[in-house]
């Protein structure tokens, strides 16, 4: 009995034990290098194809902006989920985050997508905002002004004979800029995205 008390005290009166008990701290917490952080820009050139905007699941998380003649994606904290889908989807490798690019190369993953533009003609007021905001329309017809009228038949959509008309749905890149520009929430772009593995990107 006395001996066990003695051993007990001896065990707990060791300097290192007392020190560890009083001053225990976990090791400094460092973020591991493979952590999927907010996507960062690589040196590669952005071609403003808007694939990153298309795949992004979070409203308002990513924009592709032109500044000083060059395009680049901008990621907004407080909106971005750090899901890394934009990193995976970008065909140019403009974005990087954690080990996503490395895995993508190993597994040869890519996305194939189709888009369907749907306009509710009961709420659409033919303002043409969607047609004017669309970046693909802008490239096809830089002259398109407010009202969304155009003499050009190569645009995705325009206001024609007082009605919103979709002409080239297949040219849509799914960026959803038009959804944000519509004052009546009348336009919706459905994205049907297929994840591919083991297929060469193209």
């Amino acid at each position: 009995m006395v001996q066990s008390i003695f051993w007990y005290l001896k065990e707990f009166l060791r300097g290192p034990w007392i020190h560890a008990f009083l001053f225990a701290k976990t090791a400094p917490l460092v973020t591991p290098s493979y952590f999927r952080e907010y996507p960062s820009l690589t040196e590669k050139e952005c071609t403003h194809c808007f694939t990153c905007r298309m795949i992004c699941p979070a409203p308002g998380a990513i924009e592709v902006l032109q500044e000083g003649g060059t395009w680049h994606p901008v990621i907004h904290r407080g909106h971005c989920l750090r899901c890394g889908l934009c990193v995976e989807a970008c065909p140019e490798g403009v974005l990087a985050s954690g080990r996503i690019l490395q895995w993508q190369e190993e597994d040869r993953t890519s996305f194939a997508a189709t888009f369907h533009i749907q306009v509710d003609h009961a709420t659409c007021m033919r303002c043409g905002n969607c047609c004017v905001s669309c970046p693909v329309n802008k490239e096809q017809d830089p002259q398109m002004a407010s009202g969304g009228h155009s003499a050009n038949n190569e645009v995705i959509m325009k206001i024609s004979s007082g009605r919103h008309t979709v002409i080239h749905e297949e040219r849509c890149v799914g960026c959803r800029t038009c959804e944000g520009a519509c004052p009546n929430s009348a336009i919706r772009v459905a994205r049907v995205v297929e994840g591919l593995q083991g297929v060469a990107e193209g």
Partner: protein
């Protein structure tokens, strides 16, 4: 004055009491806060204690996208916390509504419209280290020399 203030500063730097409120989250951020309590991150070693009683709290962690039932309750809960106090928005939801902020949803964010937010920790969810460093960064600016700064 200053000796008392020094004592208060020292005590407050080692005794930060935290309450958290979920105003409509998916539980992702709640789990990250829970991870802060577990041995891997162990917030008590930094002198941060979770109470979940607003009357005992110094810092309120707000989690989740603002949903209609909280519009009246969150300011009421904020009023119950004794000064000095600070609120920290944890995750994207209190900042922007995150993925829930779409048409035909009942998201009334941001939370900063209803109570003053001292810091925002973005992420979906944020890492426990990010939550921890936000609490540790906010605490001294709010609590140190509180009585001096107030007068």
């Amino acid at each position: 004055m200053s000796l008392l203030q020094d004592a208060k500063n020292w005590v407050r730097s080692r005794s930060i009491h935290v309450a958290y409120v979920d105003v409509g989250s998916c539980n992702g951020c709640d789990i990250e806060i829970l991870a802060c309590l577990a041995p891997r991150y162990d917030i008590e070693q930094y002198g941060i204690y979770v109470h979940n009683n607003p009357r005992e709290a110094d810092i309120l962690l707000v989690v989740g996208a603002m949903t209609p039932p909280w519009v009246e309750r969150l300011p009421a809960l904020w009023a119950k916390i004794p000064a000095p106090k600070a609120a920290i928005a944890i995750g994207n939801c209190p900042v922007s509504g995150c993925v829930y902020n779409r048409r035909e949803t009942y998201i009334l964010g941001p939370v900063a419209k209803y109570i003053p937010i001292a810091a925002e920790v973005p992420g979906c969810p944020p890492r426990p280290t990010e939550i921890l460093s936000a609490v540790l960064a906010v605490a001294p600016t709010v609590f140190r020399d509180y009585e001096v700064n107030r007068s």
